[in-house]
Every structure is written in C-alpha cells, then in structure tokens.
Symmetry: C2
Subunit: 305 residues, 2 copies
Amino acid sequence: MDGLSHGEQTLHDIFRDSFVARRGLSGPGDDCARIQPPARSRLVLSCDQLVEGVHVESGTSARAMARKLLRRSLSDLAAAGASPWAASWTIAAPADRPLAWLKRLARAFVEEAAAFGCSVIGGDLSRAPALVLSCTLLGREGSRPAPGRGGARPGHWLVVTGRLGDAVRSGRHLRPEPRLVEGRILLERYRAAAMMDLSDGLAADLPRLCAASGVGAVVQLDAIPLAPPLRHDEAGWRSALGEGEDYELLAALRPAEARRALADPVLRRAGLHVIGDVVAGAGVRWEVDGRAIDPGAAGWSHDWR
Amino acid sequence: MDGLSHGEQTLHDIFRDSFVARRGLSGPGDDCARIQPPARSRLVLSCDQLVEGVHVESGTSARAMARKLLRRSLSDLAAAGASPWAASWTIAAPADRPLAWLKRLARAFVEEAAAFGCSVIGGDLSRAPALVLSCTLLGREGSRPAPGRGGARPGHWLVVTGRLGDAVRSGRHLRPEPRLVEGRILLERYRAAAMMDLSDGLAADLPRLCAASGVGAVVQLDAIPLAPPLRHDEAGWRSALGEGEDYELLAALRPAEARRALADPVLRRAGLHVIGDVVAGAGVRWEVDGRAIDPGAAGWSHDWR
C-alpha cells in the first residue's frame, strides 16, 4: 500500500529531486526542514500570499503565479538588505486543478527560487475551494541589520527606486524585479535609516513608514518617477500612488548619504529619485508647486466588514 | 491619509501589541522579521495549512481554527524533537468574514502560540474566495539533530504515542496535543532513529517513513492502541489506520532503547506502544495473528485529477 495519492507523490518527487543543496540547509521530505545558520549570522523572515482572483486574475499561468509569489517575498527581503537563502511554501488548490498545472507551478517555483539563490526546503499541499499560495522566505542579513520602517527622522530625504505606477495595466505586476542588489547597496553603502518595499502603493505604504517612525512626510508629486506612459497629471499620480504592485524600494536617507546614493552607478541604472522629505509631525502632505493636494488615492488595502 | 483599512490596521495592532518579546526575535511591523539564532544553534522549520471545509468544517469557531492550525505545525516540531520558538502565519479570508471573527482568530492564535513558548514574528493578510490559513514555525533543535524519516533500519521496533483513530468523530482533531515533550524524550533519551507525526493516518504515513528509510515494516494490528470507543475489529482498524488527524508520534527505536522507553514514566503517561517491526524490503505488511490482511484504508491524501 502506498498511502500517497499519485498527484501528491508526483509533487513531492519534484520537490525532492529539484532540491538545491546548500550548506546549512536540509532538503524536503521530513516533518521539518533543518537549518543550521552560519556562526553569528542573523536571519530575516518574510511571508506573502498570492490568491487567484485577488493578486492575479483567474487563468494566470502557473509560471506567472510562481514567479509573482516568490518575487513579492523577495521584495520584502530586498527592503531588509538581506540575501535570499531558503524558501518554504504552501499550495491550496481546488480538486479540479489539473495535476499538470500543479506540476508546472511546482517546477516554476523551484526554478525561480534557484535563480535567486534560494533553496526550497519545505512546503505543504492541500485541497481548497480556491487557489491560495503562500511563501515564507529566510534571508541572511548583510553586515548591517535590516533597517525596518522605524528609523526615519525629520530631515531625512525620501527616495524611491525605479518608476512607479501602471504596474497592473502593463503586466509588470506579474514579473516584479525584486530590488535585492539595490536594497543591499542602500543599506550597506548609504546607511538607509528606514526602508520598505512598495507593494500597496505609495499612498498606502508611506504612511506606514511614517507611523512606524513617528514622523510625517512631504512629497513632491512632480518628483515621483512615473512609469511610462504615465505623465505628471492627476491620472498619473493616482496610478503611481494608489495602484500598488510596484515592488520598488522606498527609503529614508540622511541628505549627505542621499546625495552620494544619487551618483551610485548601480542605483542610477535601476533609477533612484528623491521624492520628498521626512518632517516632524504625522501624516503625509502631498504637494504640487508648494500647494497641498489630495491625490484621491487610498492605496490598496484588504478590508472586512 | 492613513492608507490602511480599518480592518487591516486593527489586526496589525493586535499582532504588534500582543508580541511576546523573546531574545533573538524582532516583532512584527517591518517587511521582514529579524531572527538572531543563539550561537551554534540549529533550527527546524515546519509549515502547515488549515482550509475551511477541508481540515475543519465550515462554521468552526475562530479559536478552534487557530488552535488546530498552530498545533498541527507544533506536531511537526515534536517529530523533530525541537522546541517551538517563532511563528509566522498567513490569513486568506473572504471579504464577508466579519472583522470581529478575524480579531478572535488573531487573538487566539497569538495566545496559543504564547502558551507553547512561541512568538508570532510575522504574517500576511489577504482577501480570498475561501478561508485558507497557513502557519510556519521555527523551532530549536535540542542536543540531538532531528531524526527525520530516513533512519529506520531492519530490526528496529515501531512505536506510537497515545491512541489512534476516532479523531474526527470525537472532535479530538480540533484540539490535538502536540507531543513536544514526548518527541524530545524519544529523541534525546532513547535515540529515536526515525520519527514523524501521524497526521494522515498510519496507513498513509508509515509507508512514507519506510520509503524514506528504504525499509519495509510489519505491523500487528492487534497491537495498535485504539482510541475508545474503538475496538480491535475491522471498523476500529480502519479508523486508526485511515482516518488521520491523530497527531501522535511514530518512531523507530532500537529494541534495547524501545524496552527502556516503554518504562519511561513520561512516555507511559502519554502512552507508548510497540506496534511492529522494521524489516528489510519495502512496503507495509499488516498482520493479525500472523495472517496478512488488507486493512482497506488508504489514509488521507489530497489528489488532483
């Protein structure tokens, strides 16, 4: 008697056979994965979800889902200036989801993880009424501790990587580029005082950074780097502030460090722009030509009645 | 502008305010949690899911769901002989789930985790068409490495803790007792050569241990400790082998260690029974009075077409 269904066994085989051995990590197959962190190392952990019909449209390919699931979590590691190390994930899938589709999902996830230097050490598989994926990543901190969101101080400059907005229409939300290198550089070379990734839109995410730091912010809407074809008008700002899914980094830097960072060749390649200032107080003031405006964009959030 | 919905903010506040500080762990609130493992420590990681309508009936209370979610993962740690340390979890919930229900879920999860010595360091929250929860636990290995499933050798005895079967009808599946103490004792005092928890039923789980170890097994059905009111008849064995959700430990011990373990007062209190032998070969032979029988129970598994 085997005890394992054909489908479940097939997926377990994929995980076992595709495990990328890495010092300090055991492969999947036991009740727990074993992790032996290098001496005096510090780890970071992030977790994220991908829900069909919420984060991706129904009918999105298995590969695109695996890619977005992993990269969203990698983007959290980027905000910590950490290096990807190990991944564990869960798959909840409807019983009528073809096994071939699940195999593509599993293979794509393992391949994506390997491409980012991450071993898939564990997972769990279940039937469910809807397709819900989750991913937990372990990363290794670099020489500086993850800054978190609480270190912004009045006088710091606010910078963002890349360009914001238009992620959904353009399809960029399905293949975000986690800013792992840029995050590490912002932290280690330019001592980012606070850093987070922009997943829910600047209008939702910046207030979180401000609240965690106990500060306010003033943002110049004109200074926000917009993804083409967006332009600096109401529609452009609304997309950049409220749409979310940018997976760019938002950081608070001391002005001297910010000036140096703006000249950093790697950061310049990704794009680095000063969008405003950290100020005393609370809340975010959005300005155009010194005039406060209400961008009318609340950012993406999940609400329950 | 706040940027966070009322519901999401409420849940985040619960996690932040209820964080149990523990050396080496940061609290929730940043993109990543920070983990500083004690010097030369080894960690284990397990992850598990709880899907409404699959692992628990629709309408199960928030507290019961939180409890089962956490304890299923703790049971994996028990099989590794590890101590609970940190938890990260994800909630995917329908938009019409009342916020009050989600608050009960969150509070119950944090309380359960604290009761087992575990800090909740991270999480993610999303809308979804169905209620799907996942839990990732980090544990600390004791003085001996987690045995895993691959160390059973011909001549070892197979033991189980507690009593098997009837978990669903009796409601025990909603409040499993993770065998954390027993797992540690089986590993550290009696050098368990292989260990796993029984979540899918002995008929599904034992073949996994055998396959991982490259061995076979002979089980005496009469020797399986059955949960009352089950009796040693076909219905009793079918429940014990095929129903799953026992969350007891299955271990392979050397005979001399097994004899000592049977006299251990803590293990006796939980219940420890020898149910069979590890043999050369492959597959499991289920015997009654020396006669092989097909228990007709395949164990619980998740299949896709």
